[in-house]
C-alpha cells in the first residue's frame, strides 16, 4: 500500500515537472485596448443636453487572449461597448465574447473552428475582417480548412454564419456563407522558376450564401452563387494583377430588389525600379453588393469587399471628403507615380527629393434607362461594360513633395484638387457636389537627437458644403515616449456665420514599449472616419477622450 502511495506521489511529482515543461513550451499572448470618451454639451457646435441624453460616457473596449502550444492554437476575444462611443452603430451596445476559436495545423492542413477571418484573392467575393476604429467585424463563425497538398498549391474551404453585432445565429435569422478557393503559384511549384524574373500565379473562388425566402411578394433566390478568377503576372519590373467576379441575381435592399446579375472587375498594372514606381488601376462594379442578409443596408454582414481605389489621405482636412465604393455601380481609375529625384542633382539636393503624383476618378456606369433601377422585382437595367457615364462621383488630383533640407529640418507639401458628389457618397440628397482646393505643409524640426517639433498647416477652400477651413497643429515629441500637441480646425468660411466654429484640441500621450496612453481634450468636428475602405460617420462631439492600448 505504502509502495503504491510512493509510486503515485512520484508519478505526480514527475507529472508536475513534466507539466511545467508542458507549460514552458506553451505561450500565451494577447492585446487589450479601451477607448473612453466623456461628453459635454457644447451649444456652439450643436451639442445640447438633449443630444447627449444622459449618456455622458462612451466606452469601447476589447481584449484578445491567444494560447499556443506547438501546432495547436486557441484564442478568444472579449468586447464591451457600454455604451458605444458616439457615432458607432447603436447595435454595438453589449458585452461578451464575440470570438472564440481553436486551430491546429501542420505542413499539409490547417483547421480552424470557431470565429475566423479570411480573404479570397482581393476580396471581391469573400472577405471577413475586423476594423476596431470603425466597430466593423464580419468574422465568420464556423469552420475553415486550409490545405497545402502540393508545392505552390493552396486550397481553402470555409462555411459558417457571419457576426451581426451581438445577435446570435439562430435558424433562418440570417444567411449562411459557404466558400472555396484555390491558388496556384507556378514559381513555388516548379524548381528553377523560384528566382526567375517571370512570376505567375492564378486563383479561382466560389462562394454561395443561403438565406430562406420569406418574402410575401417575390420569389427570391435562396442560394446565391458568386464566382471569381484572378491572375497575378510579373515580368522583370512589371507587374499585372486582375480579378473578375460574377454573381447570379441577388435581389436585396441595397439594389432595390432587382433580379439582375452582378459583376466586378479590378485590375492593376505597375512598373517599379529603384527610385521610380508607377501604377495604373482600373475598376468596374455593377450591382455587386453581397451580404448574408438581403435586408441589411448598413455596414454589416458584407460577404465581399469592394475596395475603393483612390488614395487614402492622412491629413485631417485632406481626409475630410473620403470616397466610399458605390456597390450598385461605378467605374474608376487611379494613376500614381512615385519618384525620388536623386541626391546630388539640382532638384534633388544633398538628400534627394520625393515626388508623388496621384490621380483618381470614379464615374457612374451607364444604365440603359436610369429609371429602371427603381423597378424592384424586374431585371432592372442592362449596362454596357465599356461605357462610362458623365456623372462623376469623385475625382482627386494630388501632388506631394517631401524633402530633407538639412540634418535637422525636413518637410512635406501637398496640393489636392477634389470633386466630391456629397449627395451620392454621403446621401445628402439635393446638395451640390463639393469642388475644393486643398494645401498642406508639414515641417519637422529636430531640436536634438530625441526632441522634435512638428508644425502642420492645412487649408481647404470650397464654395459648397461647409465652405472654407483652415487647420493648424503643433506637436512636440520626445522620442520614443512622449508627445504633446495643440491643434485647431477653423471653419472660417462657413456660409452660415453662426457655424464659423473653432475645433480646438489638446492631446498628450505616453508610450512605453507597446503600452500607449493618449488623452485628447477638445472638439471633434463632424466628419467621416475611413479605414481600409469602410467609413463611419462621426458626429460632432466635445469633451475628453482617453485611449489605453497594450499587448503582452
Amino acid at each position: 500500500m505504502r509502495r503504491l502511495l510512493f509510486t503515485l506521489i512520484g508519478l505526480l511529482a514527475m507529472l508536475a515537472v513534466a507539466g511545467q515543461d508542458f507549460l514552458n513550451n506553451a505561450t500565451v499572448n494577447g492585446s487589450f485596448q479601451t477607448d473612453v470618451q466623456f461628453y459635454r454639451p457644447d451649444n456652439a457646435i450643436g451639442i445640447y443636453d438633449t443630444t447627449i441624453l444622459g449618456r455622458k460616457v462612451g466606452i469601447n473596449g476589447f481584449g484578445n487572449i491567444n494560447f499556443s502550444l506547438g501546432k495547436f492554437k486557441a484564442g478568444m476575444r472579449y468586447e464591451a461597448m457600454l455604451t458605444p462611443l458616439a457615432g458607432f452603430d447603436p447595435r454595438q451596445e453589449g458585452n461578451g465574447f464575440p470570438n472564440v476559436w481553436a486551430s491546429w495545423g501542420n505542413d499539409l492542413i490547417d483547421l480552424t473552428v470557431g470565429n475566423f477571418y479570411e480573404q479570397f484573392g482581393s476580396g471581391l467575393i469573400f472577405r471577413s475582417y475586423e476594423e476596431w476604429t470603425l466597430g466593423y467585424d464580419n468574422s465568420v463563425n464556423g469552420m475553415r480548412v486550409l490545405l497545402y497538398p502540393a508545392k505552390g498549391l493552396t486550397l481553402k474551404g470555409v462555411y459558417g454564419s457571419q457576426r451581426f453585432f451581438w445577435q446570435k445565429y439562430e435558424r433562418n435569422s440570417r444567411g449562411l456563407v459557404r466558400g472555396a478557393d484555390a491558388e496556384f503559384s507556378f514559381n513555388d511549384a516548379f524548381e528553377g522558376m523560384e528566382s526567375s524574373g517571370f512570376r505567375l500565379s492564378v486563383g479561382a473562388s466560389a462562394v454561395s450564401k443561403y438565406q430562406r425566402d420569406a418574402d410575401p411578394l417575390y420569389n427570391l433566390p435562396e442560394n446565391v452563387g458568386a464566382f471569381s478568377g484572378r491572375i497575378n503576372l510579373g515580368a522583370g519590373n512589371f507587374s499585372f494583377m486582375t480579378e473578375y467576379a460574377w454573381k447570379i441575381n441577388d435581389p436585396s435592399a441595397v439594389n432595390n430588389y432587382i433580379f439582375a446579375e452582378g459583376q466586378a472587375l479590378l485590375s492593376s498594372l505597375s512598373y517599379s525600379q529603384k527610385g521610380l514606381g508607377v501604377v495604373l488601376q482600373l475598376k468596374r462594379v455593377d450591382n455587386f453588393s453581397f451580404k448574408s442578409d438581403r435586408g441589411e443596408t448598413a455596414n454589416a454582414l458584407d460577404i465581399n469587399f469592394l475596395p475603393p481605389i483612390n488614395r487614402t489621405h492622412a491629413y485631417s482636412l485632406t481626409a475630410k471628403y473620403p470616397y466610399a465604393t458605390q456597390p450598385n455601380g461605378e467605374m474608376g481609375l487611379q494613376f500614381q507615380v512615385n519618384y525620388k529625384i536623386p541626391k546630388g542633382t539640382k532638384l534633388g539636393g544633398k538628400y534627394g527629393t520625393g515626388v508623388a503624383l496621384n490621380f483618381s476618378q470614379v464615374n457612374d456606369i451607364v444604365r440603359d434607362t436610369a429609371d429602371k433601377t427603381e423597378y424592384s422585382g424586374t431585371l432592372g437595367y442592362t449596362s454596357d461594360f465599356f461605357k462610362v457615364s458623365d456623372h462623376i462621383f469623385f475625382r482627386d488630383l494630388n501632388i506631394e513633395i517631401d524633402k530633407r533640407f538639412n540634418s535637422r529640418l525636413k518637410g512635406v507639401v501637398q496640393y489636392m484638387n477634389l470633386l466630391y458628389d456629397i449627395a451620392v457618397i454621403e446621401g445628402h440628397t439635393g446638395e451640390e457636389a463639393v469642388e475644393a482646393h486643398l494645401a498642406v505643409a508639414d515641417f519637422t524640426y529636430k531640436l536634438s537627437s530625441r526632441n522634435a517639433l512638428r508644425v502642420e498647416a492645412q487649408g481647404l477652400w470650397t464654395k459648397q458644403d461647409e465652405g472654407d477651413w483652415a487647420a493648424l497643429m503643433a506637436e512636440y515629441t520626445i522620442a520614443p515616449k512622449w508627445f504633446v500637441a495643440l491643434a485647431d480646425q477653423y471653419n472660417y468660411g462657413n456660409p452660415d456665420k453662426d457655424k464659423r466654429n473653432h475645433f480646438y484640441t489638446f492631446s498628450a500621450g505616453y508610450t512605453r514599449e507597446s503600452t500607449r496612453i493618449a488623452l485628447t481634450y477638445g472638439r471633434q468636428s463632424e466628419g467621416v472616419v475611413c479605414v481600409g475602405g469602410v467609413c463611419r460617420q462621426v458626429p460632432a462631439s466635445s469633451g475628453l477622450t482617453v485611449t489605453l492600448s497594450t499587448n503582452f
Binding site: 514552458n24 512570376r199 507587374s239 501604377v279 475596395p307 500614381q336 520625393g354 530625441r450 522620442a479
Partner: protein, 165 residues
C-alpha cells in the same frame, strides 16, 4: 519496471515538447511580387531582425521607415541587422505598395498582410508597431508609435543584441 517505463515515457514527452522551438507564429502572407510567404521564415542567420508594421495611410509609419532607410546601409554594415516592413494595406491599396516602396528607394524586405492575419497573430493594435527580434525570432522589445529620433534608441538595442556595444 512499470515505474521506469512511466518515467521514461514522461521524460520522452517532456523532451519532445522542449524540442519545439519558440519563434514567430506561422501565418501565410504575401511578398511584394504576390508570392506566398510563411512568416515563421522571417530570420537573419542568427542576427537581429527589425519587424515593422505599417500602411500607406499611416504618415508616422512612413516617417519611421524613411528614417530606417537613411541609416540602413550603415546599420547593416555594423550589425548585420535585417529589416522586414509588413504593410497591412488591404486590397484597395496593395497594388500601390510596391511602386511606393521602390519610388522611395527602401531597400529592406517588404511584405503584404492584406487581411491583417499576421497583424492579429502579433497582437498589433495600432501602427506603427515595431518589433526587435533576436537571432532566434524571439521578441526582445517592441514599440508602438514613432517620433523623430526613436530609431536611435532602437539601434542601441540592436547593437547590444549584436554584441557591438
Amino acid at each position: 519496471m512499470k515505474k521506469i517505463f512511466f518515467l521514461c515515457f514522461i521524460g520522452m514527452i517532456s523532451l519532445s515538447l522542449q524540442a519545439q522551438e519558440t519563434s514567430l507564429p506561422k501565418v501565410m502572407i504575401k511578398t511584394l511580387d504576390g508570392q506566398s510567404f510563411n512568416t515563421s521564415g522571417i530570420s537573419n542567420d542568427g542576427k537581429p531582425v527589425i519587424l515593422s508594421f505599417w500602411a500607406l495611410w499611416c504618415k508616422p509609419c512612413q516617417k519611421e521607415l524613411d528614417a530606417f532607410s537613411e541609416l540602413y546601409a550603415e546599420w547593416q554594415k555594423e550589425t548585420g541587422v535585417k529589416i522586414y516592413a509588413v504593410s497591412i494595406d488591404d486590397s484597395r491599396s496593395t497594388a500601390r505598395v510596391a511602386p511606393l516602396v521602390k519610388g522611395k528607394g527602401w531597400e529592406f524586405e517588404v511584405l503584404l498582410d492584406p487581411n491583417g492575419d499576421f497583424k492579429r497573430a502579433m497582437n498589433v493594435n495600432m501602427i506603427p508597431h515595431t518589433f526587435l527580434l533576436d537571432g532566434n525570432g524571439k521578441i526582445i522589445s517592441q514599440h508602438t508609435a514613432y517620433f523623430d529620433g526613436a530609431e536611435l534608441e532602437l539601434y542601441e538595442k540592436v547593437k547590444k543584441l549584436a554584441g557591438k556595444n
